[in-house]
Each structure stands twice: as C-alpha cells, then as structure tokens.
C-alpha cells in the first residue's frame, strides 16, 4: 500500500476546497443547479482528477486514459470545476453554467465539452455505460480503468441492479465505482423515501468487492482506489459516507440546497467559510 505524504493530501484538500468555491460561484451565477450533491462528492472528484486517474487534459481522447462517468449527473458543477482545474478548458468558462449557448449544460453532455465521457442526468444509467467501457477495455486488452460516481438516490433504480449483475458476471475488475452516500434525495432522507440499507450487504450479495470509507477523508479515498486496483475478477464499489453540502455550514445536511442555488448573502457567507478573502 502506498503511503501518501501529508503534503500530497494537503494539496488535494486545497484543490477540493477550490472546487467547492467554484460550485458556490457557479450555482449562484446560474441561479439554479445542485450545490448539495456537488459538495458531497467534491473530495472524491479531487482525488480522482488530481491524483488517481491517468488522463491528459490537452489530449482528452488519448486512447489509454482512465475513463470517468458521473452517473449522478446533477453534480455537474463540481465535475466541471474539476475538469477546468485539470486544464480541459478555461476556469473563466465555469460561470457560463446553464446559460444559453454554454458548453456547460445543466447536466453533462458528451458532445459539448472535452473531458465528458458520457452524457448523464437521467439517473441510474451511468453504471451501465461504465460497464460497457470496461467490457471494451477488456476486449482490447487495455489497462485503463473506469471510474464511476453514483448517487445514493439512484440506487433505487432497477437499472443499477441490472448493471450490478452484469459487472459481477463479466468479472469487470477494471471498474471502481464510488457511491456518494449522503443520505438525502430531493424529497427527503433516502431511508424515509425508499429504504436502501443494508447497501453494503446488497452490493456484496451481487458479487462486488465493497469498501466503506469516509468520503471526505482524502487518505481513505486514495487508499480505496489503490485497493480496488488489486482486486481480481470483481468490480469494486466504494461506499463513501458523505455529508450533503459538505464544507458550507448552512448547506450541510440541508435538504433545501439539493437543487437550489445560494443567494448573494449565502454566497458571500459560503465563500468566506471556504476561506476566500472578501
């Protein structure tokens, strides 16, 4: 197991914080969007885009790149910020989110923006497309990995479990999936709307290698990715326990910020909490 020095961890945390600030500014500028679910998966995105994945932002279609699919497409603001900070496009463009003519659609569109591997937004579909990429990689004897980020609400879709079966059946050990377990969906707590637990047992029963981590602990995220690479003949599901709205006190665990942008005052306060000088 790789031991990650403190400065590496600190740098990834710094960049996660940068993404969080982008998310606040972007959703404010757009006047809509999904800050809550963007902030819960920001640390995972930071780890993937700035450390774990092999990719070349100046050559987005490089054949041997690792692939990333955002199955929870509504976390697009955090995804776009991670892409821009990686160098896929200028960070200035982030504020065009959801605007007419922008490449930054409300939900990711493969044919609009470099770096987007798959159009998503209709929930429950990204895992299937990830597995298709994984099958193709196996067929081509390619070593690249596929990273998929799912939401917890979409675990209620039947298609997720169809994909769960296929992933195990075809022994797709080149797939690492993160489940952003923030416990909330639009209408309320997942366990109140449609119970998901015991989630880890379900994925184990479907034949997946399951790892449970604190989804805001950078070291745990990196170690889970390393462990997943060592697993043979099974895909890996990393259940990342997270907090919706993480990093901005009044957004944390607040249902209202699932699909609502902050107002001016909230934006100032949020950015201040994230360490931005006024």
């Amino acid at each position: 197991m790789v031991a990650y020095p403190d400065d590496v961890i600190a740098e990834l945390e710094r960049r996660a914080n940068l993404i969080r600030r982008h998310v606040i500014r972007m959703t404010r500028a757009a006047g809509s969007g999904h800050p809550g679910g963007s902030l819960s998966c920001t640390d995972i995105l930071s780890a993937l885009f700035f450390k774990v994945m092999h990719h070349r932002p100046i050559d987005p279609t490089w054949e041997d790149r690792d692939r990333f699919v955002l199955s929870k497409g509504h976390a697009a603001p955090a995804y776009y910020a991670a892409l821009a900070e990686s160098g896929y496009f200028p960070t200035d463009e982030l504020l065009t989110l959801r605007k007419l003519g922008s490449r930054l659609q409300g939900h990711p569109s493969r044919n609009k923006l470099p770096g987007i591997e798959m159009s998503t937004g209709s929930l429950g579909q990204g895992l299937s497309t990830s597995l298709g990429m994984a099958l193709a990689a196996k067929l081509d004897r390619k070593a690249y990995r596929i990273y998929c980020l799912c939401g917890d609400g979409e675990q209620q879709s039947g298609q997720i479990w169809e994909a769960a079966m296929l992933g195990a059946h075809y022994e797709l050990d080149n797939v690492t999936t993160f489940l952003d377990r923030n416990m909330l969906q639009i209408d309320g707590p997942t366990e109140k709307i449609m119970s998901l637990e015991p989630l880890a047992d379900k994925w184990k029963a479907f034949g997946w290698h399951v790892i449970e981590i604190d989804g805001h602990n950078m070291r745990e995220i990196l170690e889970a990715c390393d462990k997943a690479k060592e697993v043979r003949n099974r895909p890996t599901m990393v259940i990342a326990h997270t907090v919706k709205g993480k990093g901005v006190s009044f957004m944390e665990n607040a249902l209202s910020f699932h699909g609502k942008s902050p107002n001016d005052e909230e934006t100032r306060k949020g950015l201040r909490e994230l360490g931005e000088e006024p």
Binding site: R67, V69, M118, T120, S128, A134, L166
Partner: protein, 313 residues
Amino acid sequence: MKYQYASQRKEYGRALVDLGKSRKDVVVLDADLSSSTRTADFAREFPEHFFNCGIAEQNMMGVAAGMAASGKVVFASSFAVFATGRCWDQIRQSIAYPKLNVKICATHAGITVGGDGASHQTGEDIALMRTLPNFTVGVPADGPETFKMTKTFAEWNGPCYMRMGRLDFPTVTDPDVPFKVGKGSVLRDGDDISLIGCGIMVSRCLEAAEMLEKRNISAQVINMSSIKPLDDALVADAVKRTGGVVTAEEHNVVSGLGAAVATYLVEHDPVPMRRVGIMDTFGESGEGEELMRKYGLTADKVVEAAEEVMRRR
C-alpha cells in the same frame, strides 16, 4: 405471383457473421433472445465479441453506449417491443443524445409475431424510434434487403434502428439495388396511384398493384425502407406523376410510415392519401397470416384504399 421466401432474422445473423470476419470492432449484445434474433449465429463464430446481457434491456442499452463510446460498432438485439419500449429512456439519454454508434436491430416486430399475443407484438416501435433526434430508422422489405441494411448500418456513423419480422418474407427487392440511408426504391412503375409500403407490406402492395391492373388502374409501388430520413424526393416525384398515395405498414397508423409520408405531403404537396396499417389497437394471439387478415394488413385493403383515393382525386 410466385415469390421466394427468406427469413430476415437469418439474413441478419448471416450479415453479422460476415461483419465479424471483416471487422474487429464489431460487437453484438442480446438480452436472452439470441437464438430467436439469430445473434447466436454471430456468438458461435465470435464468442469473445458477443455479450449476453440477460433479461435486462435497460442495462443492455447502457452497456452498448459505453462500448460505442470506446470505439466499438455495437449491435444490440431483442424483440422489437422490448428493444424500444422497455428501454426507450436509456436509448434516448445514453445513445441518441450523445449520438453513439449503436445499431439496435430488433426482430419480431408488428403483429406477425403470432401466438405470443399483444405483449410480444408491437405497432409502436417505428414511432418510438423515429421521434428520437440523431436516429436513423430502417425497415427492410425482405431477407436480402435485411442483409444489405445490416451492412450499411455498420458503415453508418451514428445510432440506427432496424426493424425485422418473425415470419419468412417474400423476396421483392432487386438484388442489384443497394440499400442506402435516406433512399427508397421503385419496385413497379405506374401512373395512377403510388403505393408506398415498408416491411412485409411491400409484398402486399405489389399484390395490390396486380389486382388494380385488372381494374385498369396503374399503380406504382415504392419500397420505403428508409423511414428516417424519409426519401422525400422519391415521394415528391411519385405524387407529381400519380397524384395519390396509399401507405401500408405493419405498424400502428399513428406515427409510423404513413404519418411520416403524410407529414411530408401536407407540408409540400397535398394529394389525396390513405394509410393502411394497424388501426390504433393492440393485437392478439393467432397465426401471423390470420392476424394480417383480421387487422386489415392485406392486398385487398390496399386495393380498397387505392380505389377510395382514386375517387377523391
């Protein structure tokens, strides 16, 4: 008229095997119906390039999209009712919107599925697929055209839908005429009325033309195997010459071939027309030919419609 009969499914399977021999990037998916759709023929020859996804069409379409995004030419098959309706949102979101190179090739379309009944028949698949932006939709008239269309779709860059039947179809197309996206073909010349059909109804249109000839009506017969894009130019030429149209399809008249032709005509060149097809109803169990008669998918019905159009001209 004496026809040779050929299975569209068999020709599809044969074309896939052919493609497997010449192209390494072709993969085939099925949802537990591979012996019926004949993708099993491909699976036997190229087991590494075949993936059975089980009875899970939604996931199959997603997997197809992911493979296409990785450079594969993906054929995904099932019965038409399941390959379109069961997973329409997956096709829309993961295949049509990102414009991925997936060929959905469905068998057992229409009501000639027969004994399985309405649950397994479909008169809605053309409607569902032609309304999707980026999609190309084709309905081969017979076995040989199925072979050609499969090959053409493999070369075509973008999502395609091909609709096949279960029964053996009479061979009506000219072996020397290739299938081209956006092109229909004239199978019989005529001056008084144009009969525009797709699928098995093309053979019924040819029969109807024979019957009409005995009544001194000269009917042109068009095989409109390219539903989307529709061969507008061919329709325009046809009505310039004949001034009346009957469409015929083994599909609900709501939003199928007839609706596509009618839309073109209303906007560009209104002439009297009638649609022959399934009259907005579900099918039932029975033999394929029996069902064709009961639901009005016969040469007689085409003749009746043609005479009515002639009276209105």
